[in-house]
């Protein structure tokens, strides 16, 4: 039965991806892409990766979808078009891509068997961290350097996006809400965020021991914040506002501070002192969740459109 289910999912996934590429209407293609992101969440569940499923649904489906829809709305009718390929060219490219897919598929089939794995190593080492979720252990202990640098990547993307504002209004607030907010949306923006915040806090809290964690929780909170801003219930913050900047920096800064603390009280950079690993990791995750939420929401909101209040 599960095999049938997997086959159905796979067929659906590929059909939907083809639809996204072939659809002529941009907006429809993007809506189909949003659906693709949600569908990928199901696929990740079948790959025994609930942590990734949560991330994919939240970021791949929710975040990227809204980002692209906003962009399509802003660009409609005046998007930059580079020259498209001719029919023959398209066929040639399609053939090339098919060859690449086939080669890659062959490589996937030919991967070493039995598959090499770090699962035993990861589960042996997890006792030292006190965590119960091995994915969180990888992200915040074994490969914490990646996570730290990735937070900087997100922050840099935000700095880059902010820098696209015209000189006079740099540091101001983005424009997110439409001029007229339809009633049902305002209703949604009042009723959904309580659920969202509870779910976000829950995601963060279980993340240490069960699937979930700082990215998933942060994205949920970001989505709720965006919803509230879009419905005009709260104004979007100025990029230059000290509170926003402190929230953005807080998570990575605490992460760095604890990382440097490792030089003094543990084995070195990013090492956690014995017995304190779990509380420290949870503290880092708490601060990171807020930073991620603020950063992702601002990434979607875009550069300033109003001069900052001085």
């Amino acid at each position: 039965m599960m095999v049938l289910l997997d086959l159905a999912l796979a067929a659906w996934l590929l059909a939907l991806a083809l639809h996204v590429v072939m659809e002529r209407n941009e907006r429809s293609a993007i809506i189909a892409f949003l659906a693709l992101g949600l569908l990928l969440g199901l696929v990740w569940v079948r790959l025994a990766a609930p942590d990734v499923a949560l991330t994919e649904i939240a970021i791949g489906g929710g975040g990227t979808g809204i980002l692209l829809l906003r962009a399509e709305a802003a660009l409609r009718g005046r998007g930059k078009h580079e020259e498209g390929a001719t029919r023959g060219g398209k066929l040639a490219v399609a053939a090339g891509c098919a060859v690449i897919s086939a080669g890659l598929g062959f490589a996937v089939l030919a991967l070493a068997s039995p598959a090499p794995t770090l699962a035993p190593a990861a589960s042996d080492a997890i006792a030292a961290t006190g965590l119960g979720n091995p994915v969180t252990a990888v992200l915040l202990a074994y490969r914490a350097l990646d996570t730290l640098l990735e937070k900087v990547v997100v922050l840099l993307a935000l700095v880059g996006i902010w820098s696209l504002a015209p000189d006079g209004i740099w540091g101001g607030a983005p424009e997110v809400a439409p001029a007229a907010v339809p009633g049902p949306l305002a209703w949604l923006a009042r009723i959904l965020p309580p659920f969202g915040v509870v779910i976000g806090v829950y995601m963060f809290w279980v993340g240490a021991d069960a699937p979930g964690g700082t990215f998933q929780a942060g994205t949920v909170l970001a989505a709720m914040w965006l919803l509230v801003i879009m419905a005009g219930l709260l104004p979007p913050p100025d990029a230059a506002s000290p509170a926003l900047r402190l929230v953005l920096v807080g998570g990575p800064a605490l992460f760095l501070a604890i990382a440097f603390l490792g030089f003094i009280v543990a084995d070195g950079f990013l090492a956690y002192p014995e017995g304190f690993a779990k509380p420290l990791i949870v503290a880092i995750e708490a601060a990171l969740t807020l930073s991620v939420a603020a950063a992702l929401a601002m990434l979607v909101a875009g550069p300033a459109r109003k001069a900052p209040a001085r």
Binding site: P182, G183, P184, L185, W187, L188, I191, L192, F195, I199
Partner: protein, 97 residues
């Protein structure tokens, strides 16, 4: 005892699946946009509700049951908002053409 619960689950889940099927049929068959979309969203939501009811007795913990109910509530909220926004949109689209 356990068998009785299982049978209840099976019946409710089957009914839920049938409702999903009915919704899809409605989507394919009904003539105008509004009734098509209403059919599918109503049927799907009822179907989801039945599935949640069917799975509630199987829940291992109170929090698990709460989460099930939460899923259903979210689907309700989503359907209510979407159908209202949709109705507005269709109304305006018709007004324009």
């Amino acid at each position: 005892m356990n068998g009785l619960v299982d049978i209840a689950t099976m019946v409710l889940v089957s009914m839920g699946a049938v409702l999903f099927l009915a919704g899809a049929l409605g989507l394919l068959r009904f003539p105008d946009t509004l009734s098509r979309l209403h059919a599918v969203s109503k049927a799907d939501n009822l179907g989801l509700g039945l599935i949640v009811m069917g799975l509630l007795p199987q829940a291992e913990s109170v929090s698990g049951g709460l989460k099930l109910i939460c899923v259903w509530l979210l689907a309700q909220i989503s359907a209510a908002t979407a159908s209202q926004l949709l109705a507005r949109k269709i109304h305006r689209d018709e007004g324009r053409s």
